[in-house]
Amino acid sequence: MKRARIFHKGAVTWAALVDNDRALRLPSGEILALTQAHWLAPVTPGATIFALGLNYADHVKELGFKTKEPPLVFLKGPNTLTGHLGETVRPADGNQMHPECELVAIVGKPARHVSAAEAMNHVGGYTVACDYAIREYLENYYRPNLAVKNRDATTPLGPWVVDAAEIADPQKLRLRTMVNGKMVQEGSTADMVLDIAGIIAYLSETMTLLPGDMIMTGTPPGIHFCSPGDQVVCEIEEVGRLVNTLVAETGP
């Protein structure tokens, strides 16, 4: 099943995709055409948002880093999220703002001291994230610092969550980013340095992962600096196609 979180008639609700992903069925039974949906980021409120840095070998090379051991994990706040077909501000001085397409694994069951062999039983579903970074704002303290990775609405997420059971092999999915129709990022989840099972095992050694927690698993190579007005599409096969538009900053 695919489930979306939408705003509908004054309330936030989860809705199931039906009719070959052409419509949404609300809990009331009401059917809504996709074109009528007001998409929200498909997140369980309160969820911890983990993100992996430098988790695709080629992307690491491209940025001039050595692969990190242990893995580089950072956290993000829910202020960063925005839904499918949303807008993200491209700051006037953010000339090095680039999209990062990421597969997001969503925790389905509590996990603590879970081995890599058992880890995938704790994944409930998957979605797509476009995690923008703005390289001008990087500082060499607590990298990647929050001014780069925790700005409001700079992480489009969605359009929906696909149940884990429907993805045969999450480590064999093509992912790509298109900006105004031109491909700027391409890769396969097969190239992750630490796979999803390994990430869950690592995190759960010291932290309890709770249902709804999200793990953004890193991004493949391809750095393309964006401008206001750009349409940015992050696409992962079998999971979804997430569309976002960059807009210019307006005055206070």
């Binding site: 706040g77 001014a147 700005r151």
Partner: protein, 214 residues
């Protein structure tokens, strides 16, 4: 723990004395320049625990650092607030004991150093009064006073911190902002009992225990 529904943000390197001591190191690699913006971190929800409880230390940790600080509960979304208006967005305050695995590098720390289960005991919430920012925060370990500091030591005081953070991100209603950590926070081991008090805020305490290997 349902007490804090939002995100918990904290700030390191906000202690004037620490800045004085690290001034030369800030110019060396990997930093190469002093920090320009507040150096922020997030404490994930698995860290939350209430006062009076136990903090379990896993076998790989012989000691942790336990920094007592104030948490400001945001009552209204703060976005691009000024120093003059910032504190009007604060709805409450509590004591917090921010526990970390000791680490010297501020470059790219691992999330597990700061965010293990139980690594943020919080005291009860009370009204926020500006006098709290002027008072002392005292830590006792095994009933002996071992540490005292004051938010007067902050590089950025609470109002300036909220102004400088809310330039690039919203501090949302329900979020908790930990205003800074003393660089000389006490080291704690399994078996220790830690108690924190500041002004009229509800006291905070935590007992540290060794976790039996799973």
């Amino acid at each position: 723990m349902a007490m804090i529904a939002g995100t918990i943000y904290g700030v390191v390197l906000n202690d004037r004395e620490q800045h004085r001591r690290l001034a030369a190191a800030f110019l060396e690699p990997p930093y190469k320049a002093p920090p320009q913006k507040p150096v922020l971190y997030i404490k994930s929800r698995n860290c939350l625990t209430t006062s009076g409880g136990e903090v379990m230390l896993s076998p790989d940790l012989t000691q942790v650092e336990a920094a007592a600080t104030l948490g400001l509960l945001i009552g209204r979304d703060a976005h691009r607030v000024t120093m003059e208006t910032a504190l009007a967005h604060v709805a409450g305050a509590c004591l917090a004991l921010d526990i970390t695995e000791p680490h010297d590098s501020y470059y790219r720390p691992s999330v597990r150093q700061r965010c293990r289960d139980g690594f943020l005991p919080l005291g009860g919430l009370a009204d926020f009064t500006p006098a709290l920012l002027d008072g002392d925060i005292e830590t006792r370990v095994n009933d002996i006073a071992v540490h005292s500091w004051s938010p007067r030591r902050l590089v950025r005081d609470a109002a300036r911190l909220m102004a400088d953070i809310s330039v690039f991100m919203t501090l949302a209603a329900g979020d908790l902002l930990l205003i800074g950590l003393p660089f000389d926070a006490p080291r704690i081991a399994a078996g220790d009992h830690v108690a924190v008090c500041a002004g009229r805020l509800p006291h905070l305490s935590a007992r540290f225990r060794a976790e039996i290997a799973a």
